[in-house]
């Protein structure tokens, strides 16, 4: 089977069989990432462009390595050095990159829906590497891949997501993807960081960390976006860590084998104590490795759609 759309804009429009295909392909790709000779020629002659309107280290490097491991030309366009700084519109920038022969454009943008606008206006495939507060589909996929590696199947898994749900595209993609794949998602956040109606996406809101993690297989912390603190959505980092941070005491109710995840970068001591981040059950570094594998799978599947 093949992916149905030319673009990966969000998990909301991927069917379960497509998600399975991506995760299965990623398992093969992981073998390449973890081998000594990280080079295959699946993407030889293809051009992959990362167009990042927001700062990012891990996601951009992850995509770039994914493309390079498979032999593609990978070019980074960063905002400050491009004509974007001169006021060029997203559509014009996209069309310019498109006619230069891009096969895949990977976009990160602070505005929700920007990848959708780009996708409508270019021939190239578009991958959403995070748009505003909307979706971060490759993060959702790599998180699901990481869970599947341990548990084999996502059906029936109990997953807790704790933190700044309001601003989090990671939370939205995970809730949508996990719910689609049959997992049960519970969420917890300071009430000022809980977006209205989020439960319609399939997540259950829990009142405390203790209740959220109770009997869970996976617990995911979200980054507190301290840079958004201008809006004073919670009183202080101290108060956040005291009432909404995970520590060894308030997470005891999770299952013994529970995995601890975080999309990074972590604010140590605020969202989670270092003892959790660095503990045996933490798979935060596996998530990063798996990110490369999942992105290789997407690049492979998107370029293979037409053959």
């Amino acid at each position: 089977m093949k992916l149905r759309s030319k673009d990966i804009l969000g998990l909301d429009h991927l069917e379960t069989d497509e998600i399975n295909l991506i995760l299965e392909t990623a398992a093969d790709m992981k073998k390449i990432v973890t081998s000594r000779m990280k080079k295959v020629n699946y993407l030889q002659g293809k051009t992959v462009i990362t167009l990042f309107y927001e700062n990012s280290t891990r996601t951009r490097v992850s995509f770039e390595l994914a493309a390079k491991y498979m032999g593609a030309q990978a070019v980074n366009v960063s905002v400050s050095t491009s004509s974007v700084a001169k006021g060029e519109t997203l559509i014009d920038t996209g069309k310019t990159l498109d006619v230069m022969g891009s096969d895949i454009i990977i976009i990160r943008h602070s505005m929700s829906g920007a990848p959708h606008l780009l996708a409508k206006n270019v021939e190239a495939s578009v991958i959403n590497a995070g748009d505003g507060m909307h979706e971060h589909p490759t993060q959702g996929l790599l998180d699901m891949f990481t869970m599947r590696e341990t548990f084999g199947d996502l059906r029936g898994l109990k997953v807790a997501i704790i933190g700044d749900i309001y601003h989090s595209r990671v939370a939205r993609s995970n809730i949508i993807g996990l719910t689609k794949m049959g997992a049960e998602v519970r969420i917890n956040a300071p009430s000022t960081l809980m977006p209205p109606g989020i439960e319609t996406l399939g997540a259950r809101i829990c009142p405390s960390i203790e209740e959220t993690v109770e009997d869970c297989d996976v617990v995911m912390g979200l980054r507190v976006q301290l840079e958004r603190q201008k809006k004073a959505l919670f009183p202080s980092a101290y108060e956040y860590s005291r009432f909404f941070g995970m520590n060894p005491d308030n997470i005891k109710g999770a299952k013994k084998h529970a995995l601890w995840m975080h999309p990074g970068p972590v604010n140590r001591g605020i969202e989670m104590t270092s003892s959790i981040i660095d503990g045996d059950a933490s798979v935060i570094n596996d998530q990063v490795t798996n990110g490369v594998a999942v992105r290789m799978a997407l690049l492979y599947l998107l370029t293979g759609r037409e053959e």
Binding site: A114, H116, M133, P196, G197
Partner: protein, 429 residues
């Protein structure tokens, strides 16, 4: 010039008269009756058509001066005429802002030369619409403004709004309030709720409107001076206005066709054509707006005609400008959604689109009566068609209604007895 319109059904705000002839001389209605047949230079056969007083829009943006690439007085009034509007009141958020006599003069002089319908400028409440110092309302009134508003922006300071009400009242100028608490709106770009959460967009909560509606109602009560509330979009605002009216507060309120035909779901897929301020709300709000129109809580329907260039809409949702073109769809949307569905009678529709807005603005318009200006429209309400934005007379095409099936087509628009628009299929003229 003597004109006779024959065999039409006249829809007044309070009654309907069938098979009527209307005799017009020098731009005024002189005689009306079933069998009158005075000699005329021209006869228009209105058999099978409805004759309505020309529609009066209390809220539009003609974008002139400053944004002529979106619309100007010539194109905007042609668009109005095509939609059946014979009088339009244009908001002052032009560039420069209508906050002084010279800009008022510019609009009035340009309208005399280029407009095909009556144009009535609205002046700003505050200088530069910045919400701080009162604009020169008295001088602008003498130059020709008919109301004041900072539309597009709220007057955030209650103290400034109180002064504005008192001062404008002395000059007989109605005050039109754009009700939005900017702190609560918090930079949002669509209604706050499930849909904004799904789309990952910052929401404007309905209380951003409701809080300000409450303030204006209290100010109107405290000062005893009437206030007009622009583009009401929420259920709670409708309830607040209803209660205030029951207690005798002098308030009038308007809504727009988009608030009773569309919900926030129209934004899905990052459809910037559905982006406006106030934002499209929920099913519950739409229901409440319809009920408010039915029971008279909402006095009038205005278009909030807000043309924008495609380049200002074909961008990221958050960047896209607010508003939709409205003149050419308002009557058909109102008829199809409200009259055809039995929520309003034809007469009530005429009241809300013509008679009452004229009253609120203090214009001697909005009626079909002897001695009055012959501002009339001929409408075929059985004419069913699909809205096609490419045919709009407006310079801009930013409408979410492209492809909508509606009923009710303006066949001819007369301003002071002169046909300023006729539909190509109209054979009566």
């Amino acid at each position: 010039m003597r004109l006779l319109i024959t065999h039409g059904t006249i829809v007044h705000a309070d009654r309907i008269e069938k098979d009527m002839n209307i005799y017009i001389e020098n731009g005024k209605v002189v005689m009306m009756g079933q069998n009158i047949e005075p000699e005329a230079d021209q006869v228009i056969d209105a058999k099978g058509l409805y004759i309505l007083p020309g529609l009066v829009d209390a809220h539009c943006h003609l974008r002139d001066p400053g944004f002529e690439y979106k619309e100007d007085i010539a194109s905007g009034t042609r668009s109005a005429a095509k939609g059946g509007f014979t009088s339009v009141a244009c908001m002052p958020n032009t560039n420069p802002v209508v906050d002084n006599v010279s800009v008022v003069n510019y609009i009035i002089e340009k309208a005399q030369k280029e407009a095909v319908v009556n144009v009535y400028p609205i002046g700003a409440i505050t200088k530069g619409q910045e919400g701080h110092e009162l604009a020169e309302m008295g001088s602008m009134k003498h130059a020709g403004i008919i109301a004041v508003s900072d539309d597009g922006k709220p007057v955030m300071s209650g103290a400034v709004m109180k002064k504005a009400l008192i001062y404008a009242h002395q000059f007989g100028l109605p005050v039109i309030s754009h009700c939005e608490d900017l702190d609560l709106a918090d930079g949002g770009c669509m209604n706050e709720g499930v849909t904004s959460t799904i789309m990952g967009l910052r929401g404007i909560p309905s209380i951003a409107e409701d809080v300000m509606v409450s303030r204006e109602l209290l100010l109107a009560k405290y000062t005893g001076i009437p206030i007009h509330l622009a583009h009401v979009s929420t259920k709670t605002s409708v309830e607040l206005i209803r209660q205030a009216k029951e207690r005798g507060v002098k308030v009038t309120a308007e809504t727009c066709p988009h608030y009773f035909t569309l919900t926030e779901k129209a934004c899905l897929g990052y459809n910037t054509l559905a982006k406006m301020n106030p934002p499209l709300r929920t099913d519950d709000d739409v229901k409440a707006i319809k009920e408010g129109l039915r029971d008279g809580t909402l006095d009038i329907i205005a278009t909030d005609h807000a043309p924008h260039h495609n380049d200002e809409k074909n961008v990221e949702f958050e960047k896209a400008l607010n508003g939709i073109v409205g003149f050419e769809t308002a009557l058909a949307l109102t008829y199809t959604t409200l009259v055809d569905k039995g929520i309003l009678s034809l007469s009530q529709m005429v009241e809300k689109l013509s008679t009452k807005p004229a009253q609120i603005l203090g214009l001697d318009k909005g009626t079909v009566a002897c001695g009055k200006d012959a501002d009339l429209i001929l409408v075929d309400f059985d004419n069913e068609y699909t809205i096609d934005v490419s045919g709009f007379a407006s310079k801009s095409k930013n409408s979410p209604y492209d492809g909508y099936k509606v009923k009710g087509r303006v066949m001819a628009t007369l301003v002071s007895g002169k046909a300023v628009y006729t539909h190509t299929a109209f054979k009566g003229l």
